[in-house]
Structure formats: structure tokens, C-alpha cells
């Protein structure tokens, strides 16, 4: 079983704003960065689930833009509910740093063997 949670996030978030892994490869706002942590869970048949602990950061010039993007991203993540994926929202945080808004959201995203 191959972990495809990162690919799935890119598939659903890139149409909303550019998604980067761990570090933005641009100075152009807005963008989204995700930090993933993964672990695998097994039955005696092998891996049956990948548990992803995902922290997302949306970075934008205005709060309105950041919130609009984060709302769209949350909707997209909710939309991955299927036999292969499910998600659980954990917490969010909003802060401004030197005139840039950074909205943070944490999710558990599970990928199952199908």
C-alpha cells in the first residue's frame, strides 16, 4: 500500500491555491504549505491504514483572502470522504505577522487499503 495522502492534498488544494510541502518555493502570495507526519497501522495481512497528521498553513496578504482560501480548502478536504480516505478536523489558529496573515489548520487524514 502506497501512501498517497500528499498527492491527494495536491490534487484538491492546487486548484484553490498553490500547495507546497514544508516550505514555499515562492515569494508570491497567497500560497499554502503543509507539514505532514505519517504512521502506518497494520493487521496481520499487512498495512491497512496510513494515518496522516497534517498541518496546513495558508499565507495571504489580507485576512479576508486567507480566510476565503482556508474555507475553500476545508470544504475540499471534507470532500475526500470515501472508502479510501477520511479526514478529521483537529484545530485551527489565525495570526498576523508583519502584515501577512497566516491561517493554520490541523487535520487527521486517513488513507485505507481498498
Amino acid at each position: 500500500m502506497t501512501n498517497t495522502i500528499g498527492q491527494k492534498l495536491k490534487e484538491i488544494i492546487n486548484p484553490i491555491t498553490t500547495l507546497y510541502l514544508s516550505e514555499a518555493q515562492t515569494d508570491n502570495l497567497p500560497f499554502c504549505v503543509y507539514d505532514p507526519e505519517y504512521r502506518e497501522e497494520r493487521t496481520k495481512e499487512g498495512i491497512y491504514k496510513v494515518v496522516g497528521y497534517i498541518t496546513l498553513f495558508v499565507v495571504a496578504m489580507t485576512f479576508e483572502q486567507a480566510e476565503s482560501l482556508m474555507t475553500a480548502i476545508k470544504t475540499a478536504i471534507n470532500g475526500i470522504e470515501s472508502p479510501q480516505y477520511n479526514s478529521t478536523f483537529i484545530m485551527e489558529d489565525k495570526k498576523s505577522y508583519e502584515g501577512v496573515w497566516i491561517l493554520k489548520a490541523e487535520y487527521n487524514i486517513n488513507q485505507y487499503k481498498i
Binding site: R42, T43, K44, E45, Y48, K49, T88
Partner: protein, 140 residues
Amino acid sequence: MAEERILGYNCRLKIQNKLLAGTTQDDLNISAVFKDSITKDDAGNKKSAIVGHEVTFSVSGIVTLGATAGTHLSRDEIIALSLLTGDDAIVGVEYVAGNGAAYEGDAVITSYSEGSGSEEEATYGLNLKISGSFTLKTGT
């Protein structure tokens, strides 16, 4: 022969020649059944004789629907077996640990349970007790 240690996933219980889908743990327990005797000549020291054994299995796992037909028992099939009565409730079991010998016997399912926390996969637990003998499988 070199020593060989095995990881737990190599230890498997089969019921009716099928594995149980979603298994995370198989536990085998063999308990001796004693008969203790005290005579005055023992001077208070019990003598124990083993007159039999009680062999039980405990299996736990992730509830799995639509398991691979033919090789695995799904949740619904396990429940169906658990609800049988009389002679129908006696199931053949086989237990093997890696490349070690296999053991077999007849068993009855003494309990089945499911747990279903809202944010985790549903889990099951199954307990069996050997009915009759539990013996080395010929040819293993």
C-alpha cells in the same frame, strides 16, 4: 538447527480452514487441568497429576466487511459461526506459528464482541475453546 524468532503476524489461527479478516492478534493458551491428592504419607505436600488440558484461543482485529472470499472469514461470517448451536457450533481450527508445526482440533466459539468508538475503526474480539483433543497436524 539455527534459532528462529518469528514476528507475531506469522502466527495465525484458521477456522474452517479460513483466516479471519483484519486480525491483529491471535493468542493461544494451554492450561493444564490438575487433580491434586493429599494422603497422610505426603506429609502435607500435595501431589498433582495432570488429567487433561484446557486450550483456548483469543483473537482480536479490525472489523472487516467483504473479506476475500474463499480464504478469509468476514465479520458477518464470524458472527454467523458465533450464533450456531449444538453440533453445528463445532468448528475445525488450525493454528500455525511461522514455519513451526501446525496444530489442529475442534473448537466452540465461546464469545464474540465488537467495539465501535466513534473516531476509530470498529474492532472485534473472538474467544474459542478446544472441544476434544488439540493435536499436531500430520505432515507438519
